[in-house]
């Protein structure tokens, strides 16, 4: 099941490269035909290509956010957990703060100020600001508990320096956790972007799943019964979420089974 969704998610992810996205290129409001599988929009866009592009962009945002968030989180978490002392305390308080700050209002705040000028990347950066705190906290506690493990001592007595211990001993353990966190963060980022889009705060020229739903809503697709236009991004979002979610669950199951051995 999981594999099935992964295949969908990633095959679609690689497809958009053959897609030239053009505005007003087809007659508008077509029903699904063999040429336009999902019909066209009120603006004369092919829904299928729009959808593919949207999935691509949403995934891209999700992945960028998850990458930045996870990398920053792992780095800060390791730093805090391994350095100890005042640096740890400072980092911990900052991390806690970011966990406590309500992210959606701040996201709205930042995106509304940048509306018009933001790009996919800036959007992702903004979202990433709130994606690192949680992993950082987890990784820190992981690092803290690992610091006392015997194999860390063995590594040190084998001549490894602190940096090397962190990189070759602790990181591999943190990575498995991070991977599942990474997928979670991807989900969260896509969801946040969709929320912002529905509030009308996503960059106007960004074709994302959220924006696509928002456009369709704006263009009254619900009442003109353009079900494919409004429905396809919704279904895609839901399917992608469920797929990713199952992937996480599957991965975690796999991990625990592996640990159980």
């Amino acid at each position: 099941m999981t594999v099935f969704f992964v295949v969908i998610g990633f095959i679609i992810y690689f497809l958009p490269h053959i897609n030239p996205f053009t505005f007003n290129s087809y007659p508008s409001k077509l029903e699904p035909t063999s040429e336009h599988w999902l019909g066209t929009t009120s603006m004369g866009q092919d829904v299928l290509w729009l959808l593919i592009e949207a999935i691509h962009n949403s995934l891209l945002i999700g992945l960028i956010v998850a990458t930045i968030g996870t990398v920053a989180g792992v780095f800060i978490g390791l730093l805090a957990g391994f350095s100890g002392g005042w640096l740890d305390r400072v980092l911990t308080v900052v991390t806690d703060t970011f966990i406590v700050i309500p992210s959606l209002p701040i996201l709205i705040l930042m995106t509304s100020f940048m509306k018009g000028t933001s790009t996919v990347f800036i959007m992702a950066l903004v979202l990433a600001m709130f994606a690192w705190a949680w992993p950082s906290r987890q990784i820190r506690s992981m690092a803290l508990s690992m610091r006392e493990r015997d194999f860390i001592h063995t590594a040190w007595f084998s001549g490894e320096g602190t940096v090397q211990v962190v990189v070759t001993e602790i990181l591999p353990y943190a990575l498995t956790w991070s991977l599942s966190n990474f997928m979670n963060a991807t989900l969260a980022a896509i969801a946040s972007e969709s929320s912002l889009a529905v509030l009308g705060l996503s960059p106007g020229n960004l074709i994302s799943l959220g924006n696509m739903i928002q456009w369709a809503r704006d263009r009254n697709a619900i009442f003109t019964k353009q079900w494919f236009w409004i429905g396809s991004p919704i279904v895609a979002t839901a399917v992608m979420f469920i797929g990713l979610f199952l992937l996480i669950t599957g991965y975690n199951d796999y991990l625990s089974r592996k640990r159980g051995r």
């Binding site: 000028t117 263009r219 009254n220």
Partner: protein, 472 residues
Amino acid sequence: KGPKNTTTGTETAQTTEKAEAVTDTETGAETETKAEAEPAPSGETTEVGTPRNETLIVECQSPTDTPGQFNSYMQGTTMGFGIHQLMSAMMWEIDTVKGEQFGEVADGMPESNADFTEHTVKIRQGIKWSDGEDLTAGDVVFTVNMIMTNPGITQNAYYNQVFKSVEKVDDYTVKFVTKESFPRLAQRFGVTIWGNDLRIVPEHIYSKQADVTQFKDSAPVVAGPYTVKAYDELGKWVLYERREDWKNSTIGVVTGKEPKAKYVWFRNLGDDTTRQMSLINNEVDILCEVTPEMLEVMTAQNPNIACWYKGFPYATSDDPCSKGLAFSMGKGAPFDNKDFRWGIALAMNFDEISQNIFNGVGRASPFPMLTNTSACQELYVKPLLPWLKDFSLDLGDGTTVKPFDDGYAERIAGVLRDKGYDIPTDHDALIDMFGVGCWKYDPAAAEKLFIKAGLEKKMTAGILMVNLSHST
């Protein structure tokens, strides 16, 4: 179009503050739509507890941030939430179809001296405030002086700039003395398109306030036909009730007709989806700003929904509000540069904008400064056509371009016919429907103009991207 049309109940058309509408091209064609006051079961009540069949529910496009605040001279008061339409007393009103002003509080147009520095205005007799006091010249004089003596009122500076003095001659006569020749007193201080700042307030209430800029006036005493019955503390609705003595209100005195609805409930509805659903389900009677597409959908689901015309273009094009992009030239570079502005004008594909935003409804006009009502088109635009056709722009590289494009009407008619609309073929009818034409879509020329305006060309392809920062 005036606020007082509520007299006829079902013909009401609401407008939003045009000043804001200008900033956003997405607000769509302004097609006012209403559900025919359906004979609602008499037992049914609205959510605010009034009988549904005596309540007119009007949409207001945004909630107010200042609930319970009805003093128009206090900062932040939302006039569009019924204050303007139902309660305000203006000096002069306008009939937008004829383009003629007439007196409301004033009894007729001002009489000015030869150099237009002294203006005598008669005040209508018989208008009473809702608490029974007479509205007299004293109230008018008090209002203007209040504005001029209170720096906290935003219009203060302007009024001081215009007026030397405003005095009461007798109970129903006021003399305005302006600092300079000021022939347009009625236009500037009466209603032309949307309301004006001069809303007469009752002296016997406002003179008692220590600071009128901080006076919320939550239970206002008004000269208009409705008073506030209840309002939402959260700013999402206001309920108005017809005055018992509506005959003594401005409307009663001016027209003698009774406003039909006993209650008027202004409420905010949220996004387009919600608005449509509400209108279809009879949860609202009047919607503002509806796209033709929305209208088609709604009429299909509820046959009682109607607007100006049964078929295309649904809305009258004689709406006195223009839609488009406006730039403040005072905002500084690059908008103060003529070539830059021309560049933007030529970079925009009007056909697409019109199709995508208004479904082709509306009259195109090359001139932004005047609303292209049919009167304006006949009087102003058509006579300028020969000049327009000859007009050419210097592109800065030695070439010129003639920016006027008179083919718009025929083109859009073609597109609309393809979509299945019944569009007349007669050229004059088309010009009346779609206007004489617009500026050309000419990216190449636009590019040259931008370069002329001092912009650097960074893009290689023919697509030009310009970040438009809107200003009011």
